[in-house]
Structure formats: structure tokens, C-alpha cells
């Protein structure tokens, strides 16, 4: 709970809600009731925490990155979500949703994925719980992320390449919704981020908020105080809302979300939805959307597939509008520089998504030298080595 929660209809101020076909309303209502009941049931909450601890490896460590801090000129604490099972924060969300699925008596899960991280996490959770799993993935992404396709298949999931629209993440969501309309009686949609129609933004936040709950306690224990600033990358915004929630009512803690600036917001080739988008309705929620003058969704661009989404979770839209959190853009180039810096100073290769948060934190360190900045290192960079090889020219031995 925070002072920034949605009302019972899923409205975060002017944002959120449920702009969905009537055919899915009954399923969303069912999910809403089941989620609220589950979160109020200590047995469910305990089961969720136990699975996260025993299977996913939470609580993740809060790491005092001293060598990076020296270079940055501020104390940087890293929330090591990259050390979770499957290598990112996303495992928390899918374990929560899959546990809820079994509680609701459904036997099949579907998911969308961009880079494949949520798809791999969903396939993992489905394997863990013995559920059938179908993952929709844009055809363009299946080609860019062949390794993750193989992972999902090895985990027993069926991967369906999506050939409609721009053949990327947003179209994978469209296709998953189309599946769900026809399969809703026995299928749960494991939504990959804190966006979409109510109750997904709130439910996904509940399953990821452990990040911030843990980090807040860890920071108090480590430093004796709350951080001055917290920072996370924002695509749809699940890792960010997972970190932010515990701090929303701490008025002295500044909150920053870093969106993918791609080639630079001024070029139009970016995924900085809050920074440069306009209010609209996409995938069931009113939020900021990259759209043209006619309300057609504009394709986003980012070196980070996980941030490459033309919408954003509605709670982030609300936090931006109220000023509780500040959102800025980080370019591909700045993110890749931050990736290299963390690798060389700390021996940690971050996901390219998380590198956006790091680059943002470095910017904040310049503005506030000597302050304490807590950064969500939401994922590890193994999956991004292809990108790194190309960007840094790492091919061949020398």
C-alpha cells in the first residue's frame, strides 16, 4: 500500500482503468477478485515468499559498489536482481502470477515477450508449476533473440512467432490478447509488466514490490538511513514499480525512472514514453503512449529490447504527473557506456536495460555528489552479449 495506489476500478489518478473488450471483462473481474483474495490470504503470501526464496533466490543482495562509487562521486548501492534465478527481477512476477493461476484452477498460461526474458521466466514458472505454456513473440524478436527461443523450448513452452503489425512486443501483446479472448475459461495471461488493464498494473506491482521492500530494509541496515535517491529503468515499468513502491511514502527519497532514449529523444527514434509521449489508451489502460496525430501507435526504438515498448505502466504515468517520481531519457550510447563501466569497475555485466538505470544514476551522482543512490540492477547481461559484441566491436581475439 502507498498513497499512490489505484482505486477499485484501477484508476491511478487520470491513468489506468480498463479499456478492454467486454469478452475479457469477466476474466479480468475474476482475476481481480482472485488476486485481492490471495493477497489477503496469509497462506498465499507465505507460499509466494517461500517460492521466491527457495527457488528464485530472494532476497537479492544489496551491494555497496565502492569502486563504481569512487568513479561516480556518489555512493551507489546496487540491488542485485541480476542474481535471481533466470537472471532478472521478472521471476518474481511470473512466480506470483503462476501461483495465482494454480489457485484459480487454470491449467494453461500464455505470455508475450519482447527480448524473451519474460517468456523465459514464464516458461520457467510454467515448468515449476506443471502448467502448459504458450509464448507469443514478435517474429523480428525471435530472430534477434534465438537463444531465448531455444531456452523457452527447452523449458517445454511453445513459442509462436507473431507476424502481424510491426512483429515486435506490442504485436505479441495483441496476439496474446487474441488468444486469451478465445481461451479465457482455462487460460491465465501472465502479463509481463505493470501495464495493461486493471488489475494487471497493481497485481504485477504486488508481485515485484519485494525488490523495494527488501532494498529499503537492506539500505537501513547497511547505511543506517534511507537512500537519498532511488533509480530504475522504465520500459513497461515492472522493475521500477517493484523498487519504487516501498519508497513512495518516504517523502525525502527522490525517485527517478530512466526511459530508453534510443538514438536521442530529439531524433524520434526512442522509447521514452513518459518523456516524449502523449496521454492515450494502449493495451487496456490510459497512459502515456508514443502515437501519431491520429492516435496510431508509433514503433519505439531502443538498443534494449526490454525497454522497447511504446506504452508504460499507468502508475508511472500517475507518478510522473503528480511529480512524485521524475522520468528522464538515457540514450543507447550512455547506457552502453554505463554497461562497460560497471563491468570494468565491479566485474558485473548488467543487462542493457539495467544499464539505462546505471547511466541515469551516474548523471544523478554528478548533480548530487556524495549522496547515496540506490539503483535497481534489474537483470544480468549474458543475454546482451550479441549487442555488446556489435556495439564495442568485441569480435575476434586480440
Amino acid at each position: 500500500m502507498s498513497g499512490f495506489d489505484a482505486d477499485e476500478h484501477g484508476w491511478f489518478g487520470d491513468f489506468g482503468g480498463r479499456f478492454m473488450p467486454e469478452a475479457l471483462v469477466a476474466a479480468l473481474d475474476e482475476l481481480d477478485v482472485a488476486w485481492r483474495a490471495a493477497m489477503a490470504d496469509p497462506e498465499f503470501v507465505t507460499a509466494f515468499h517461500t517460492i521466491c526464496a527457495d527457488y528464485a533466490g530472494t532476497p537479492s543482495r544489496l551491494y555497496d559498489a565502492t569502486r563504481l562509487s569512487e568513479q561516480a562521486g556518489a555512493r551507489i548501492l546496487l540491488k542485485r536482481e541480476d542474481l535471481n534465478h533466470t537472471g532478472a527481477h521478472k521471476i518474481r512476477n511470473v512466480l506470483g502470477q503462476a501461483l495465482l493461476t494454480t489457485r484459480m484452477g487454470k491449467t494453461r498460461v500464455i505470455a508475450e515477450t519482447g527480448a524473451g526474458q519474460h517468456g523465459v521466466a514464464s516458461a520457467t514458472a510454467a515448468a515449476y508449476f506443471g502448467l502448459d505454456c504458450v509464448v507469443y513473440m514478435g517474429e523480428v524478436d525471435t530472430e534477434r533473440q534465438a537463444l531465448n527461443v531455444a531456452r523457452m523450448k527447452l523449458l517445454g513452452a511453445e513459442v509462436i512467432p507473431v507476424v502481424s503489425g510491426s512483429r515486435t512486443l506490442k504485436d505479441a501483446i495483441n496476439e496474446a490478447l487474441r488468444d486469451w479472448v478465445a481461451s479465457v475459461d482455462h487460460t491465465a495471461y501472465l502479463f509481463g509488466t505493470a501495464a495493461g488493464p486493471h488489475p494487471f498494473p497493481s497485481m504485477v506491482r504486488d508481485f515485484t514490490r519485494g525488490i523495494g521492500d527488501e532494498a529499503r530494509a537492506q539500505c537501513l541496515e547497511l547505511t543506517g538511513a534511507l537512500p537519498d535517491t532511488i533509480a530504475a529503468c522504465v520500459g513497461g515499468g515492472s522493475n521500477a514499480i517493484g523498487l519504487f513502491t516501498a519508497f513512495l511514502d518516504d517523502a525525502d527519497v527522490e525517485i527517478f525512472g530512466f526511459e530508453a532514449g534510443g538514438d536521442g529523444v530529439e531524433t524520434g527514434r526512442h522509447a521514452a514514453t513518459i518523456v516524449a509521449g502523449d496521454p492515450g489508451v494502449l493495451h487496456g489502460a490510459r497512459t502515456y503512449v508514443l502515437q501519431d496525430d491520429d492516435g496510431q501507435t508509433i514503433e519505439s526504438h531502443s538498443i534494449s529490447a526490454g525497454l522497447d515498448y511504446p506504452g508504460v505502466g499507468p502508475q508511472h504515468a500517475h507518478l510522473a504527473k503528480t511529480g512524485r517520481a521524475v522520468y528522464e531519457a538515457v540514450t543507447d550510447a550512455d547506457a552502453m557506456d554505463a554497461m562497460a563501466l560497471l563491468a570494468r569497475t565491479e566485474g558485473i555485466i548488467p543487462a542493457v536495460e539495467s544499464a539505462h538505470a546505471l547511466a541515469g544514476a551516474l548523471r544523478l551522482a554528478e548533480r548530487r555528489p556524495g549522496s547515496t543512490i540506490l539503483v535497481n540492477l534489474s537483470g544480468r547481461g549474458d543475454k546482451d552479449m550479441g549487442t555488446a559484441i556489435e556495439w564495442f566491436g568485441l569480435g575476434g581475439a586480440s
Binding site: 479499456f19 469478452a23 471483462v25 495483441n174 487474441r178 494502449l282 493495451h283 492516435g295
Partner: protein, 269 residues
């Protein structure tokens, strides 16, 4: 004289048949071509016209309508072109509604869209991705301009939501009688009849059924229990599959005539 949606359904009812409601997206294959195709729907026997507003993220549409809408978008169709299409089709006197996903309307400006649709002669909107509980802005704008508000009901709708939705509708109620996306289907759904009956129990408005009808025989089946038979994907398919535009329009006209006979046929009689 221009009919309203209500009078078009009423006239069909007086003739002891269902109304034929025809859908095509605007701008396919291009704006003038789309207008020509929609005119064929009118001339060949559709009682009510739905013009689709092509949208980048059509979550309720199957591959056929997606393909046509995407082609229209790639050709650069604008919302104003859709309104121009409405004007040309409404000029025939047949009630002409726009079927649209919500974001383009919100982006255009809800009140401005309602005003411009009304002045183009449009009858109203069919809104597949908003429900009345999230459609208050549209409801107010439609009421201000005397436009039809057609919301969808589904087999999964609870009785309470059916009543709430029906009460918010004007013109007719759209029963999306298949749990799935748009597209032609081999067999008609056994969910449709019960859905229509449940809808009738809570409203006096006519109930149109959309469930993938693609020929006269299926239309006759649906006409047994529905006030309107809605056909979309089959019309798009006729255009998509034709070797050239004139052939497409001929196939389209023949299909409309078959369906128009279908809604006049009693399956049992």
C-alpha cells in the same frame, strides 16, 4: 431520406426478416476504393453499414481484417479520410456507423469526433474495446450529438453487465457471439442463441449478431434468432482474394446478395 439505425432494423422486422449489417474498413485498398466497396454493400442489399477505422493495434480482429487495416494504414489513411468515407456512404441514405478502437477517437478529441461524425452524416459508433463503465466521455458526447452508441455484449458477460451494457446502447446491441477474434468460421456458434435471448430479456433494442458469418445459409441460421446479422471478414476476404479491383467488387456484390437472401430465408420453412 436517411434512415436511422433504429428505423432500418424496424423496417427489417416489419418485413419479417433480420437486417444485414455489413462491415468494411475504410481505406482498403485505398480511400476511393474503400468508398466504392462500401457503396457495393449498400447497393447489393446491406441495411446498415459499419465502417472500420484502421488502427495499429486491433486486438479484437483476426488476420483478415488485420491485413486490410494494415494495408490501409501503410497507404497513409487518416482519421479525416475515414470521416470523408462516412460522408460518401451516408449520402446513400443507409445508416452508417463507424467501428473503431478507442485511442484514435480520444486522440482526435472525443467531442470533436462526435461533432464531425454527426456532420458527416454518420449514425454513431461501435466501440469494441471500451465498455460503458469506461465510456462515459463517449456516452456524453454521443448524447449531445444524437449519435448511436453500440457497445458489445459477449457470452461471458454476466447478467448484471448485460443489463448495464444494453441500457447504455442506442441503435442496436452488438452481440459478439464467439469467444474469439473476428473472422469467417465454418460453423455458427452455439453460444449465440442463448446470448441473444439473455440480451432480449433485458432490452427492447434490436440485437445484431457477429460471429463469422460468411454465406447465405449461415445468415439464414442466425436470422432465425437475431435481429441483425453482422458480416465483416467475409467481405474483406472477397476483396483480398480477388485478382483485381473490378473482380473484387463483383465478388463482393454477389456475396452481399447471397447474404441478403439468407436473412430473408426461414431455415425451417
Amino acid at each position: 431520406m436517411t434512415n436511422t439505425t433504429a428505423t432500418a432494423f424496424e423496417q427489417a422486422r416489419q418485413e419479417g426478416r433480420a437486417a444485414l449489417v455489413g462491415y468494411l474498413p475504410a481505406g482498403y485498398p485505398d480511400v476511393p476504393g474503400g468508398i466504392n466497396a462500401l457503396r457495393v454493400l449498400v447497393e447489393s442489399g446491406c441495411d446498415v453499414i459499419e465502417i472500420g477505422l484502421p488502427y495499429s493495434d486491433p486486438v479484437m480482429d483476426g488476420p483478415t481484417i488485420q491485413a486490410a487495416a494494415q494495408q490501409a494504414l501503410e497507404a497513409g489513411i487518416r482519421t479525416t479520410d475515414v470521416l470523408r468515407t462516412v460522408e460518401a456512404v451516408a449520402a446513400t441514405g443507409v445508416p452508417t456507423l463507424v467501428m473503431t478502437y478507442w485511442n484514435p477517437v480520444e486522440r482526435y478529441g472525443v467531442d470533436r469526433f462526435a461533432a464531425d461524425l454527426a456532420s458527416a452524416g454518420g449514425a454513431g459508433l461501435i466501440t469494441p474495446d471500451i465498455t460503458p463503465d469506461f465510456g462515459q466521455h463517449w456516452i456524453a458526447a454521443a448524447d449531445a450529438h444524437g449519435l448511436d452508441k453500440v457497445f458489445l455484449v459477449a457470452p461471458s458477460s454476466t447478467d448484471e453487465r448485460l443489463a448495464m451494457t444494453a441500457q447504455a446502447c442506442r441503435g442496436f446491441i452488438y452481440a459478439a457471439a464467439v469467444m474469439g477474434v473476428t473472422g469467417a468460421r465454418e460453423s455458427t456458434s452455439d453460444l449465440a442463441g442463448p446470448l441473444v435471448a439473455r440480451t432480449r430479456a433485458v432490452s427492447d433494442l434490436p440485437v445484431g449478431v457477429g460471429l463469422g458469418v460468411s454465406n447465405g445459409a449461415q445468415a439464414a441460421q442466425v436470422a432465425e434468432y437475431a435481429d441483425g446479422v453482422i458480416v465483416g471478414s467475409a467481405f474483406v476476404r472477397a476483396l483480398l482474394d480477388a485478382p483485381d479491383r473490378p473482380a473484387g467488387l463483383r465478388r463482393l456484390g454477389a456475396l452481399v446478395e447471397d447474404l441478403a437472401l439468407g436473412v430473408r430465408r426461414q431455415v425451417g420453412g
